[in-house]
């Protein structure tokens, strides 16, 4: 074998498609378009890096995938920028006694504490998914989180809102979200990196905000009364666009 390739492989700096087995098992995301793009869905365990501004529907995108597992194991939310709404979490199908909120004091130890907590939660095997909000994650830190997630068989979702250009992080899946200004229902997802496939250009997935029947603006948009009654406004599955 080429000695350079051999060297790189020993240092684990190259990844061969032949070693795809450990990443083959996927968890369906609940969105058909997304499933197709991601070769089946999210990885079973690992670090998922999502670049998006707050409020584009990023949690509504990822929560259905872990809903089943979250009934048995904890979900940890580390250093969320705002308060999490219990009503929203119940609406998404999580049980509140399996949800752990971890706040971090904003001092010089905050990064270290954040990453340590996420790593501990991941390694313990008691969590189904960990959500962490952090800017400018470094390569070594990302590697540590990825290994911890694989060891504890859970998913770590890293949300980043910053705009700066990232060097390639060793994650299982990296996506960027954006929304067209005119579009209310659909989110543009660009797969930057995935371990079992190629990076993809942006495609759009319908992640509607939920609205209740009877609100005046909704009535205006809706069709006949028959449609209004029949339509399940809480539907989440989007048809292939």
């Amino acid at each position: 074998m080429n000695p350079l390739l051999h060297d790189l492989q020993k240092k684990q700096l190259v990844w061969r498609a032949a070693s795809i087995e450990q990443h083959k098992e996927r968890v369906s995301t609940g969105y058909q378009t997304l499933d197709k793009a991601l070769n089946g869905g999210f990885p079973k365990s690992g670090l998922v890096h999502i670049k998006s501004l707050v409020g584009l529907g990023e949690m509504r995108l990822v929560l259905p995938a872990i809903k089943a597992q979250a009934q048995k194991q904890f979900c940890a939310f580390v250093a969320a920028p705002f308060l999490l709404n219990a009503e929203f979490l119940i609406g998404e199908g999580l049980t509140l006694d399996k949800v752990m909120i971890i706040d971090i004091t904003h001092d010089k130890h905050s990064t270290e504490q954040k990453l340590w907590s996420a790593e501990q939660c991941a390694k313990s095997g008691a969590c189904a998914a960990i959500f962490i909000w952090h800017e400018k994650l470094q390569v070594a830190q990302a590697k540590k989180l990825e290994l911890a997630a694989i060891k504890g068989q859970c998913l770590i979702f890293l949300f980043e809102a910053g705009k700066h250009q990232q060097t390639n992080l060793p994650v299982s899946l990296a996506m960027s979200l954006s929304r067209d200004n005119r579009d209310q229902q659909a989110v543009n997802i660009k797969v930057d990196k995935q371990k079992v496939g190629w990076p993809l250009p942006s495609f759009s997935v319908k992640v509607p905000y939920k609205a209740r029947m009877g609100s005046p603006m909704h009535k205006r948009r809706g069709g006949s009364r028959h449609t209004l009654q029949a339509a399940n406004i809480y539907a989440l599955h989007s048809k292939p666009s």
């Binding site: 707050v54 705002f82 709404n85 119940i90 609406g91 504490q113 200004n181 609100s215």
Partner: protein
């Protein structure tokens, strides 16, 4: 308590208790080989010497100056009677596991009532074998003797008899050879008796008691009559304390928290053995660090899961002590456990979720130890129309929550449990269109947004003075973020949440 004069007693004498305590803490072998003495500064006398010191030529009762002349690397420690008392209590505690009647003779003696134990152990020699095993483990030098009377046993032990037997005649013979100076008789009376030529027990017994009665004190008369076997002794027995309390004094002051951990490790090891014998676990322990120039530091260590193993406690303590700052050096550490939990049998299915339950409680303990209790929380949903009141925080349960819920289920009858389940289902009827993030303090809207949905008027809170009247809208800004905004009656717009 008074006892008859026919029961067998054993006396244990520890001549070098203070020295042995210090030598136990020394780890390095070259440190052990150094000559070491315990010195009484008030009387200027050497009290206890180790083997190395004896070889150099230091003698008991020597002054400090002469001793230091003989040996230049002599390790001198000041005599502290409280250390001996504590060590004595510890030995009594260990012996309590094998023998029931123990009386403390501070500072360095123990009375054991052997008569009761003879039936249990099936003979004196078997009983003594068990005792000597326990004493060997504690690592102290001991002189022992047995006799049919309390003071006789003490006297024989002080004379280094080192033999356990129940042969009355033999014991009497040994007793007669003993010197008066080692008895408990008042020293002034001993002088008086010495002046009339009574220096050992044999000559003392030759005199009738009545003739001595007028010349010596009442206390000495009691001792003598007890020695003769004519009067019973009065003793108070030792009972082990109810709560676990352990105190260790460090050989030298330690300022760095990391260096304290190996010593805490030793404390935790004896705590683990204490728990193991009692089939108990514990949820909280308290560590007190005694600082030399500042008041003592008390740290309470909680674990979400009841544990007993030394490594489990040590990992939690290591995390909690990372933030600890010591103001001055620590010279002693105390470990107390206020409450013990019974370790109960887990009857659950082997394949049930017990594995992750233990893992989740261990995780919670570690997170709370490092970050602090307030930073790790659970959520609670409260049925209130005001959005800021919906989410409330709960501290994490300290007890085994799953066990509680199974107990609860067992206690509820069938109809009660049905009602309970129905109420629980009703509780979960939530508004499904609420945003994922709620801002703790609503911010004023500062950018141009497009309204997608609304309005939804919430008027609430007139009963507890937090009256709100807001029109909520779902809006989207230029970047595509979906925001929950509201308008007050004064036409002011605020941002209250994000649809994550």
């Amino acid at each position: 308590m008074q006892f008859d004069t026919r029961s067998l007693w054993i006396y244990l004498y520890f001549p070098k208790l203070h020295l042995d305590v210090i030598q136990r803490q020394v780890n390095a072998p070259e440190q052990l080989a150094l000559p070491r003495v315990i010195y009484d500064p008030k009387a200027n006398k050497m009290l206890q010497l180790n083997q190395a010191a004896l070889e150099v030529g230091v003698k008991k009762g020597m002054g400090l100056a002469s001793a230091s002349l003989l040996c230049d690397n002599l390790q001198v420690h000041e005599y502290n009677i409280s250390i001996e008392e504590k060590a004595l209590t510890q030995i009594a505690h260990q012996l309590y596991l094998v023998t029931s009647d123990i009386a403390l003779d501070t500072p360095n003696g123990l009375f054991l009532r052997a008569q009761n134990m003879l039936n249990l152990y099936g003979g004196l020699q078997a009983y003594w074998r068990v005792l000597s095993q326990v004493l060997a483990k504690s690592g102290v030098e001991v002189q022992f003797a047995s006799a049919y009377s309390v003071n006789v046993a003490k006297l024989l032990a002080l004379h280094k008899l080192n033999k356990i037997s129940d042969d009355k005649a033999h014991l009497h013979k040994c007793l007669l050879a003993c010197q008066l100076c080692k008895t408990d008789i008042d020293p002034k009376d001993q002088e008086k008796l010495a002046r009339i030529g009574i220096k050992n027990i044999q000559s003392l017994f030759e005199q009738p008691l009545a003739s001595l009665a007028s010349r010596v004190s009442r206390f000495s008369i009691n001792v003598i009559s007890e020695l003769r076997g004519e009067a019973p002794a009065k003793l108070k027995f030792y009972y082990p304390p109810e709560h676990y309390h352990d105190y260790i004094e460090l050989l030298y002051d330690i300022e760095l928290v990391d260096k304290l951990l190996p010593i805490i490790d030793k404390l935790l090891l004896s705590f683990e053995q204490y728990l193991l014998i009692r089939n108990a676990l514990s949820l909280t322990i308290k560590l007190t660090l005694h600082q030399r120039e500042h008041p003592k530091v008390e740290q309470t260590i909680n674990s979400a899961l009841a544990i007993y193993k030394q490594q489990d406690w040590l990992s939690i303590i290591a995390l909690q002590f990372e933030q600890l700052k010591l103001e001055s050096a620590v010279y002693a550490i105390t470990l107390t456990c206020p409450k013990l939990e019974l370790a109960d049998i887990k009857n659950a299915d082997f394949f049930a979720q017990k594995g992750t339950h233990v893992a989740s409680l261990t995780l919670l303990s570690r997170l709370r130890a490092k970050l602090g209790d307030e930073k790790v929380r659970l959520l609670r949903y409260s049925q209130d129309f005001r959005p800021e009141r919906v989410t409330q925080f709960m501290p994490v349960h300290l007890n085994d929550t799953e066990q509680q819920s199974t107990q609860q289920k067992r206690l509820l009858s069938a109809s009660q449990s049905r009602a309970h389940a129905l109420a629980h289902k009703n509780e979960q009827r939530v508004f499904k269109d609420r945003p994922g993030f709620i801002l703790a303090q609503p911010e004023t809207l500062s950018e141009k947004v497009t309204i997608l949905n609304g309005p939804e008027r919430i008027v609430s809170g007139w009963w507890d003075k937090e009256h709100i009247q807001r029109d909520y809208f779902v809006a989207q800004n230029n970047h595509g973020q979906q925001i929950w905004v509201y308008k007050t009656p004064e036409d002011k717009w605020f941002v209250h949440g994000y649809f994550v």
